[in-house]
Each structure stands twice: as C-alpha cells, then as structure tokens.
C-alpha cells in the first residue's frame, strides 16, 4: 500500500501534464506542434524495434562507454591526486580551468584530430564527464578520518588495501554525487556530438528528421531522449542505493 501511494505521488503530475498535452493538442493542425496522439503512433512505428536497434542502442552504448571511461579516469586519477597532495596543489588551478571550460568547446578541435566518428564522440563524452568525478574523488580521498589512517598503519595494511577499504569507500558518496552530475552531462554531450557527427544515434535522428521537415519523427526522437535520460538516472540511483546502503541508513 505504501509503495503504491509513493508511486502514485510521484506519477500524478506527469500523468496530468501528459493528459493536458494530449487533450490540448488533439485538434492541432500546426505543422510544428502535431497532436500528441499522432506523435505516439509514430513513436511506436519508428522505435519498435527498428529505431531501437539502429539509433537507440548506439546512443546507449556511447553514453555508457564514455561514462565508464570517465569513471575509470576520474576515480583512478582522483585517488592518485588525492594521495599526492603537493602534485594536486600544483595542478589544481589547471584542473579548475579545464573543469570550467564547457566540454563542447573542444568539439571543433576534437573533430580535427579524431574525425566525426565513434572515437570523437567517446572522447568528448568521457572528457566532459571526467571533471565532476575527478574533483569529487580528490575531495573524498582527502577527507578520510586521520584515525582510520593510523588504524591502517598500525595494522600494516598495504597501499592497495588502504585504497580499496578506506580511501575509495570514504570517497564513495562524493564519487556518486559527481557521477550523477556526469551522467547528465554525458547525455548532453552525446546528443551534441551525434548532431554534428556521423549518422547513427538518437541525436542524429532528431536533427535529420528536422532537416527533412519530418517534425512528427523529430518529436518522437526528443521523447526518446527524455526517456533515455530518465532511465539512465533511474538505473544509476538503483546502483547507488545498493552500493551506498550503509551511507543512506546511517544518514537516514
């Protein structure tokens, strides 16, 4: 009963809005804003299942690979820089500058070196996603309780054990906070790189539909992007709740 209530509480507004859209757009003859019912029809027609295979899966793969790459580089580099205090202090201004530079600003140069294919897209997604994870990992590694480090020293834990059992778990809540931010960034960069890059992907699909004056299909692509982002975030929260269970119960 409680779960049902919770679901209902979360769903009522989207349902009201979608219903409103459905009703208000029902008689629309506007070229730019077709009726939602038509869009939904087209959505099923395009995406199930040809579109999913030809465009959604490549997008999903891109976003996941790029994000994964960013996690590896961000957490790995963050632990390293978190441990090497002096090096990090020297690199900090540079990192802050790079982080503040909008990721997509590098798009022109990335296309020069990497072309418009998969490499460039992955590079751009991973690059933009790395900063929040990297900087949060550094902070998380820095904030380890000094007593725990004395414990580690007195029980002769190796550096790798300290990283695995102390530094990374301590940084985990912050790594996840950075990761959630990165995932949103990944979706944006994915769409942008697909729009300027080679065919394939939901972003390319949306732009291509618009160029062909197929606004009905364009709308289905936009809806698909919304759904993709929502589902990715949902999956991310599931993973977070599992891995950070101790943190959530402790702070409940």
């Amino acid at each position: 009963m409680n779960t049902l209530k919770k679901i209902a509480w979360e769903l009522w507004l989207p349902i009201v809005l979608i219903t409103l859209w459905l009703v208000l757009s029902a008689g629309s003859t506007s070229f730019y804003f077709p009726p939602l019912s038509k869009i939904m029809e087209q959505f099923v027609h395009i995406w199930f299942f040809d579109g999913i295979v030809s465009d959604l899966l490549p997008s999903l793969q891109r976003i996941l690979l790029g994000f994964l790459l960013a996690v590896v580089v961000g957490v790995g580099g963050g632990v390293l820089l978190g441990l090497l205090r002096r090096t990090e202090e020297a690199l900090r201004p540079l990192l802050e500058l790079l982080r503040s530079t909008p990721g997509v600003a590098l798009l022109p140069i990335a296309t020069l070196f990497l072309g418009v294919g998969q490499e460039m897209k992955l590079f751009m997604i991973a690059l933009a996603c790395t900063w929040p994870i990297l900087l949060n990992t550094i902070d998380g590694v820095r904030s380890v309780e000094p007593v725990l480090l004395q414990v580690a020293k007195s029980y002769r834990l190796t550096l790798l054990q300290r990283i695995r059992f102390i530094y990374i778990p301590n940084a985990a809540p912050q790594i996840f906070a950075g990761g959630r931010l990165s995932l949103a960034i990944a979706a944006v960069v994915m769409v942008v790189t697909e729009m300027i890059g080679s065919p394939g992907g939901v972003g390319y699909f949306v732009l291509n539909a618009q160029r062909n004056f197929d606004l009905l299909s364009m709308w289905t692509g936009i809806i698909m992007l919304g759904l993709l982002g929502y589902l990715l975030n949902f999956a991310f929260r599931l993973a977070e709740n599992r891995i950070l269970r101790w943190h959530h119960i402790k702070n409940a």
Partner: protein, 273 residues
Amino acid sequence: MNQPTATRKFPEPRTAGETLLSVRSLGKSYGAHQVLGDISVDVRTGEFLCIVGPSGAGKTTLLQCLSGLIPPSSGSVSLRGVEVNEPPAEMAIVFQDYSRSLMPWLSVLDNVSLPLRSTKMPKADIKKKATAALEEVGLAGHLDKYPWQLSGGMQQRVAIARALAFEPEIVLMDEPFASVDAQTRSDLEDLTLRLKQHLGITIVLVTHDIDEAVYLSDRVLVLGGKPTEVVDLIETHLGDDRDQISTKSTAQFAELRAKVYQEIRTQPAPGQA
C-alpha cells in the same frame, strides 16, 4: 567465560617477566616545545602496565611513539631487541575514539577481518579468526551489523576484537574507555583483564583515571613534570583475581590509589611549570 577455541594460537607468556618492549631515554619535541623528556621503562612479557598522568602530559604521544606511529625525537623503542620504526606485526592498538577508529562502511565482521587481510591467510580462516575474536568479546550475535548501529561500549568491543584477531603479543590501548558510561566502563575493564589472563597477551594502557590504572595494572607508570618524565613505577601486587567491588575496597587498593594521586598532584600542571 568463553573458552579459547582450538584454532587460536596466542603466544604463551613462556618467558613471563622478561622484557618485551624496551623504552630507552625516549624524548619527543614539536619544534621548540618538548613534550616528553627522558622516559625509560621496560614492559615485561605478560604484564598489564598502565600509564597514568595528568591530562596534557603527552600520554597519547608516548603511546604513539611506543607503537611506531610517530618517530621519537630522541632515544629509542625496541620490541624484543628489534627497533620499532613502524607498528610491528606483533602489536595491535586500540584507539580512544571508537566512533572514528572503525570503518563505518564495513560490517562488524569485516571490520575485525580487515587487519588479517595484510597477512596471507585464506579467506575462510580469516572469517573463522574474526568470528572467534568477536565471540571472545561477547559480540557473536552482531557480526552483520554496522558498527554505528551498536552502542558505544559495543563499538569499543569491536575495536578490541579487531586487535585480538590480529593475534598480537602486545596490545596498546589509548584511553579506550574514556567515552563510555561508568557501568559499561567497568564491564570493559573486566573484559580486558579477563582477555589478558585468558590469552596471555601483554597490555599497555594509557588512562587519566587513577582508579582504573590501579585496578587494571600489574604495574602503574606515573608520568608528570614538564617536559613529561617518569615520576614512579609502582608494582600493585593485587593478584590475578580482581573484582570491581572487593578489590577496590581493600586497604591495599586505597593505599595505591592515594599514592598515585599524590604523585600526580604534586607535579606542576602542564603549562604552569
């Protein structure tokens, strides 16, 4: 009382009374500020030594020097003749603040198992040893909880179990019962006494509580002065059978207590020398 399990092999105090940890002219300064003067003491195998002194006397600093966590500025510490430069494998430390010395992201069992991972022991053995240590301190039913789900006294028991699982010859304890209530405190004191007799380990415990020091000790090391030096080293002769009520009401206990109290009181308080 729990019986020792067959798998545990605590070193017998085969050479009880022999010097285990030797402290020679130990001094520690922070810049121009000298905390520890010239401290020499021999900790004997199998004994319970309490270090007591006024607050601010550098008791924790001394313990950290003994364990090799921080280097002394002068003098030396050696364990069985081997100089201590880092915490030795034969030594375990119980820290003062249990809420900060246990990993909040690990279960009770994993917390106790963690030190054993630095050995090459198989996983099943690690679990067995950790479980045995937790049984020893009366926490058999709480293996899967997180430490912060337990009371303060129970958390300190987890920290003690972690030290025991490491199978040390000597355990250093830094004001281990300072932040628990009085009843829990006497329970933990008795537990510690029992473990020491039961497992034949040597214990060095730092405290500012004179009653606690006398009650637990075979010998009490009284610190004082500025910089801190050894004021006295007193044998308690209270025997192995101790009881919170009867031992503490003996004339011998009262005498020892008064003696230590006086020795601490006659020392100039830190900062007023």
